[in-house]
């Protein structure tokens, strides 16, 4: 069954690596729903957050292909309930329309939105949250003339993760400890050889 999976990739910060990772998906004709690159908790280590809709089997194989890349340290995949995630959205609307027809105050409160810029001709709001939340505000603003809308890629924190600092120390050693190279083969439920 296809589901939304969030893939988190820890990498070196290297030109061309984005392409190397992107073609793993495009070669298999898999659409990337959203992609974000940013620094991570560890200095010098980059973090990709990739959102795709696929079956777990496909996602697991994709992660192994990603991890196979020389400059990738680690790839994880998680379902929605295993992560805390946010997307940022920005909305540009006519200031006149807002002032006349919509109660700005109510908007700010209900959608947790805030005005980033207020000019005579337009106002820019931003809000962050889950997809449904940012979508809802589009619906509200659309009748009043939404001039521009943009939403960022998903960023996600893995609930069970202890971060990458300790792992990185291990990776820097010639012979990393066993615990750092998790056993990708053991199923998550039981410690048996069921794949």
């Amino acid at each position: 069954m296809k589901k939304e999976y969030t893939i988190t990739v820890y990498t070196e910060n290297q030109i061309g690596l984005l392409n190397r990772i992107a073609i793993i998906f495009s070669r298999r004709k898999i659409n990337i729903e959203s992609l974000n690159t940013s620094p991570s908790e560890s200095e010098g280590i980059h973090r990709f957050t990739i959102l795709i809709n696929e079956t777990e089997e496909v996602v697991r194989k994709l992660c192994r292909q990603i991890e196979k890349q020389v400059e990738v340290l680690k790839a994880y995949y998680n379902t929605e309930d295993e992560i805390v995630w946010q997307e940022l959205a920005m909305y540009k609307v006519s200031t006149d329309a807002i002032a006349e027809k919509v109660k700005v105050e109510r908007l700010l409160r209900e959608y947790g939105a805030r005005a980033v810029v207020i000019r005579k001709d337009y106002t820019v709001f931003e809000t962050s949250g889950h997809r449904e939340e940012t979508d809802r505000l589009i619906k509200v603003l659309e009748p009043h003339g939404l001039i521009e809308f943009v939403r960022s890629a998903r960023v996600a924190i893995i609930k069970s993760s202890n971060g990458f600092h300790e792992k990185l120390k291990q990776f820097e050693q010639l012979e990393p400890g066993e615990e750092v190279i998790e056993n990708e083969y053991l199923s998550k439920q039981a410690e048996v050889f069921s794949m």
């Binding site: 990498t11 061309g16 194989k61 192994r64 991890e67 020389v70 083969y185 050889f193 794949m195």
Partner: protein
């Protein structure tokens, strides 16, 4: 200058290292010397001229083979790597020079061949300006390289090349491409010596072997009634031929090979049951779907090996030994994954398995082999028709070489026939384009194979079609006196495609009727001796003359036009549905 840059003695790390001022180009060549990569296949051009200029001073330490086309260079480097077990090195210029490497990179990528390709690039300030002979080599080659990198500053050269050699040759080997802009080749910098790379924090070529998996695998194997070992090139790349032999001998496991695993186990070994896959042997294919434990060693379950996946070995528990974790569960679900270098994992398994004989099970293979012999092999090797078969040519060649030659093949019917019937006594003796199926691979790869194993006889078996794809490399053979025996099996057709058209497209022979030049005269134009025969009575002598000849030789053997390679697993069928005719 008499080369060897004698600057930096490795001193204690606390004191600053002494440096010398050298150019980026010199640093490239110094790196090659340090990596003992002293045979290079290449072709010069504008953007790599500084490196070639520096090479001019290194010619007594580095042997550069000037090919006739960059594709020839990279296939030669592949042949070199495959026969020597070392990393092949290629030089090419920017633009078309670099794009001509792409086919070879794809071939080396899928066949896990260690290569370091160095391409020249336009000056850094011209990048992205559509300069003369500028192409985006890094992005073009990303999907077909294990790693690639563009150098724009000479100071990067020593450590990037060290990384390149480390990445190409370790773990699951593969091709690496380093693109060096012309300014970096010319740039002088303070060089403190070359240090080999042995660790990259984001790259773990050597998996940690889990004892628990070995134990679990041994338990499954020890309970097996019908165990079957299938092995691939991982055994050769891991230099684990002896370990494989010890393993199968202790358990008395019947074993079969993929095309690239060929020659890892001597042909005559009693447990060698033959070839897997589309044109493989009868027993190994049929019994894949009957074994109870399938032990896959250093192979990747290619579709040409598995046939229809949903009907492949479904009854068996699968133990997969591989160094590349991405291969495990990729095509076939594993019961016990043994992730690691088979040089280490095989002996660990051997220690835990119980000796066994499996006589009845092994006899099943022999029965199938007999059926295959009666229906296919007998006629192929001892035909009654006056027209020669490819199989009998290979059989006669075996008798004369005694299985000691390196056989390099191109792609097509002759390749499958050679793999089926050629005899091998030692490893690294079969060199062919397996995963990519690159026609035109054979001739340049044979040139490289000879440089990689100069003391061995190299026979390039090539079809009339494939030979015409890279025959310009006869010029390389001529110029460097490369002792390659070229055996053209001419059926006046693009035979494999014709076979498929016959079997699956109602004999509609669409553009497979290929004409050839007079190959002997062509060879003669390159001062290469040759002969062409069509009578069986001439075969043995002609082959003997070819093998005895001092230096390169071309022998064309006219074979049956419409012979087919059998057995065959038709596409979309299971391995058990293999057809004998």
């Amino acid at each position: 200058m008499d080369t060897v840059i004698t600057a930096p003695n490795k001193t204690a790390t606390s004191t600053p290292k002494p440096t010398v001022s050298i150019s980026g180009s010199q640093a490239v060549l110094d790196a090659l010397l340090a990596e003992n990569a002293t045979t290079i296949f290449g072709y010069p051009g504008g953007a790599i001229m500084p490196i070639y200029d520096a090479l001019y001073d290194y010619t007594n330490q580095i042997k550069h083979i000037l090919v006739r086309h960059e594709q020839g260079a990279i296939h030669a480097a592949q042949g070199y790597a495959r026969s020597s077990g070392k990393t092949g090195v290629v030089f090419a210029t920017s633009g078309p020079g670099a794009t001509n490497l792409v086919t070879g990179l794809a071939d080396a990528m899928i066949d896990s061949t260690p290569l370091v390709c160095i391409t020249g690039q336009v000056f850094a300030h011209l990048l992205g300006t559509d300069a003369f002979q500028e192409v985006d080599v890094i992005n073009i080659t990303t999907p077909v390289t294990k790693w690639n990198y563009q150098i724009t500053d000479a100071t990067e050269i020593p450590h990037v090349l060290a990384k390149a050699f480390f990445i190409a040759g370790t773990g699951r080997p593969g091709p690496v491409l380093i693109d060096i802009t012309k300014n970096a080749q010319l740039q002088k910098f303070e060089y403190s010596g070359y240090e080999k790379c042995n660790h990259i924090r984001s790259y773990r070529p050597k998996p940690i072997i889990r004892k628990s998996y070995i134990e679990e695998a041994a338990k499954v194997i020890n309970e097996a009634k019908k165990p079957f070992v299938i092995f691939g090139q991982g055994v050769i790349l891991g230099k684990a031929e002896q370990e494989l032999k010890a393993f199968i001998e202790k358990g008395n496991f019947p074993a079969a090979w993929t095309v690239l695993g060929l020659s890892a186990l001597p042909t005559e070994h009693p447990l060698n049951m033959g070839m897997l896959g589309m044109h493989g042997n009868y027993g190994p294919n049929v019994l894949t779907n009957e074994c109870d434990v399938l032990i896959a060693v250093g192979m990747r379950f290619d579709d040409r090996v598995t046939g229809r996946l949903d009907k492949y070995a479904k009854q068996a528990k699968v133990i997969h030994l591989d160094i590349d974790p991405a291969e495990i569960d990729k095509n076939v679900q594993t019961t016990v994954p043994v992730w690691g270098d088979c040089k280490e994992t095989l002996p660990m398994l051997t220690q835990l398995i119980q000796p066994n004989n499996h006589t009845a099970w092994i006899n099943r293979f022999r029965e199938y082999a007999q059926q295959e012999y009666d229906v296919v092999i007998q006629n192929e090797l001892n035909p009654t028709s006056p027209i020669m078969t490819m199989g009998e040519v290979i059989k006669t060649l075996n008798e004369l070489t005694n299985g000691d030659a390196i056989v390099v093949t191109d792609v097509g019917q002759h390749q499958m026939v050679a793999c089926r019937y050629a005899k091998f006594n030692q490893s690294k003796s079969n060199i062919t384009s397996g995963g990519a199926g690159t026609m035109g691979f054979g001739l340049p790869a044979a040139i490289g194979a000879k440089f990689g194993a100069p003391n061995r006889t190299v026979v390039a078996i090539i079809g009339d079609g494939g030979f015409q794809m890279t025959l310009q490399e006869l010029g390389t053979i001529m110029q460097f006196n490369v002792d390659v025996k070229i055996l053209i099996l001419n059926n006046e057709f693009l035979g494999m495609v014709r076979q498929w058209q016959q079997l699956f497209h109602d004999k509609r022979y669409s553009f497979v009727d290929i004409t050839s030049p007079n190959f002997v005269q062509l060879a003669k134009a390159y001062h290469i001796e040759g002969n062409s025969i069509k009578d069986r009575s001439q075969l043995k002598n002609a082959l003997q003359t070819m093998l005895n000849h001092k230096g390169s030789y071309l022998l064309e053997v006219m074979v049956g036009k419409e012979n087919n390679v059998f057995p065959m697993v038709p596409q979309g069928c299971s391995v058990a549905e293999i057809r004998l005719q």
